[in-house]
Subunit: 351 residues, 2 copies
């Protein structure tokens, strides 16, 4: 068995310097937030709604449809992994960012940066996988771009997808709407994607193969909206996992969140793999899981909706008006502790 992962890559903050980009800047944790807060947002944001988490809201023409617009680049390594590949990941990831805005995905762009020497058969497999993922997510791929870089200046293939969706929620969906009577629901068990990629990257074999949870989330989200649930906040659990997503929401909402560790669904195989790899499943990336903040009175209805798509959906916590704001506290059998956001990412190049 290889070393589970290279610690110097996983914790780049330990050798932090202020003047060059480190792997941790791409991890979705504190370093990524600092880069956005210090460099990108000051330069680009022209209104408070710009550069929020998953996408931007548009009303083009002023009297037309309310739209969501989002982008993501995908640099996952390796290109193929159990349960998916960079193509299905790129489709589902952007579909899910639109869904997290409360939008129905309409169309996507795809842009390929290919390294000289990429086997055309690999490209064909990935393109077919994208086609299948788009059909399952009921989204059209309408425009694209192709660039090639010399051998040694890429890693086979990087993909960008951007997406436009039609907002279906009557009200804005976001941390600003989180209130002290909300419960936190997770749409299924956590940790599969990161462990699946890690296992194939490091050549680890587990008794039961762990497949990525990579999947489109628009249908479960739209089912909540169609059932009349007043969805306050949605967040997919990608880089940084469940813990990072909840900390981000707590900080933006200025709220205290209480999480019940025993209620968080983690499969036995993922739990076992995480123990071997020294990973905390709460921080492992998912590509087909999200949390929904909904009023406590609608929790059972929301759960019933989500269980039509995944029986693992569960209420895992609540917003606690008496808890310290801007923190996530996890209740365990032994007591309680506060969750911290990682500096970088446990696993680089996971999406």
């Amino acid at each position: 068995m290889n070393e589970p992962f290279d610690f110097s890559l996983a914790c780049p903050a330990s050798s932090a310097s202020n003047d060059v980009i480190e792997l941790g800047h791409g991890g979705g944790g504190r370093l990524t937030h600092r880069l956005i807060d210090e460099i990108f947002r000051p330069a680009f944001a022209t209104s408070p709604g710009d550069f929020t988490h998953d996408g931007a809201m548009l009303e083009p023409g002023g009297n037309g449809a309310r739209l969501a617009f989002t982008t993501d680049s995908y640099v996952v390594r390796p290109l193929f992994f159990p349960g998916g590949d960079i193509g299905s990941l790129a489709i589902n990831g952007t579909v899910n960012d639109l869904a997290m805005c409360g939008a129905e995905p309409l169309c996507l762009s795809v842009a390929f940066v290919m390294e000289e020497g990429l086997p055309i058969d690999d490209l064909r497999r990935i393109v077919e996988s994208m086609q299948g993922a788009a059909a399952r997510a009921r989204v059209r791929i309408v425009t694209g771009d192709t660039k090639v870089v010399e051998r040694g200046h890429g890693d086979g293939l990087y993909v960008n997808t951007s997406g436009v969706g039609l907002l279906r929620s009557r009200f804005a969906v976001g941390p600003q709407r989180v209130t002290a009577s909300d419960v936190v629901i997770v749409s299924g068990d956590v940790g599969r994607h990161g462990v699946a990629v890690m296992a194939v990257r490091e050549g680890l074999g587990f008794e039961t193969e762990i497949a990525s949870d990579c999947a489109p989330l628009a249908q479960p989200v739209l089912s909540l909206i169609e059932a009349g649930i007043d969805v306050h906040c949605l967040r997919d659990l990608t880089r940084g996992g469940l813990a990072t997503a909840l900390i981000e929401i707590a900080e933006t909402a200025d709220a205290g969140i209480e999480l019940d560790e025993a209620a968080v669904p983690v499969s036995e195989t993922v739990r076992g793999a995480c123990e071997i790899l020294g990973l905390d499943p709460l921080y492992v990336a998912n590509e087909g899981r999200f949390v929904a903040f909904v009023p406590a009175a609608q929790a059972q209805l929301a759960l019933a909706c989500l269980r039509r798509f995944d029986e693992g959906a569960a209420v895992i916590g609540r917003v606690d008006g008496r808890a310290r704001p801007r923190t996530v506290c996890i209740r365990t059998i032994g007591g309680a502790r506060e969750l911290d956001m990682l500096s970088g990412e446990q696993l680089p190049r996971i999406c």
Copy 2:
């Protein structure tokens, strides 16, 4: 002086194999077209309007605004060049793709794939350049993404921008509307961008520094539309230059185009540099130039509009109903010849 350019890179078709990606696949010529026709379009296109040249048309919600949607990744090497950098290029390039649809650019997404070790000062300069370019093009940057790849798996920085614009032309703009009474107008002199990048990449010094023409084109295009000109087709002259753009239009429109070599504006410095480098300025990439196909009766009005932005704008040819369809014939002092599309690109990594 270095060798002007590595011929094996510039003409990858000479060592073509069918099973791996070559640099020429990113050149915008025959190899790129083949990749799109054989792999991308069959998988992704669900209607004839999909995967047309510069962007897709949307009518989200059915009763709302008519939108254009487009994407481009930028891999130019080096990141900084006279007249611009990868940041201004990424803003203007996508603004221009929207403009070529006859759309007013509304908003952009930006996505960064950064290589570990990229100096943060370089990133800051590029981000500030993007901010300036967006302000000049009157477009908002509303959402973004950040990924990091390990040292040796990138080339400092790759940028993707996608854009949404509001269609301003009452009629579709595209090759299908080209007719035998159209004239071809170019918006300014050609060849600056490619030569500028080439000169800095190869460490060439010319007596007069050649700066890229990198610039936003939405204002000149909108001025044509606002003046009531029935713009039939627009195309920016990026990878493959003027010649490739005209051949693409001739092929899609099933039309014969006649070009007057003496009328094509090329500056003396670009002409001299091209002679030294062994390049044909008709095939050199531009990032702030376009051709417009307009009815002959409106040629003078169109020219007057465009000359408010660039005095170099000129009528350079016409659609000839008697010429062989799907060809571009160039009239020179000595006679006439047919232009061919290159297999790859004279200069790789130019945008």
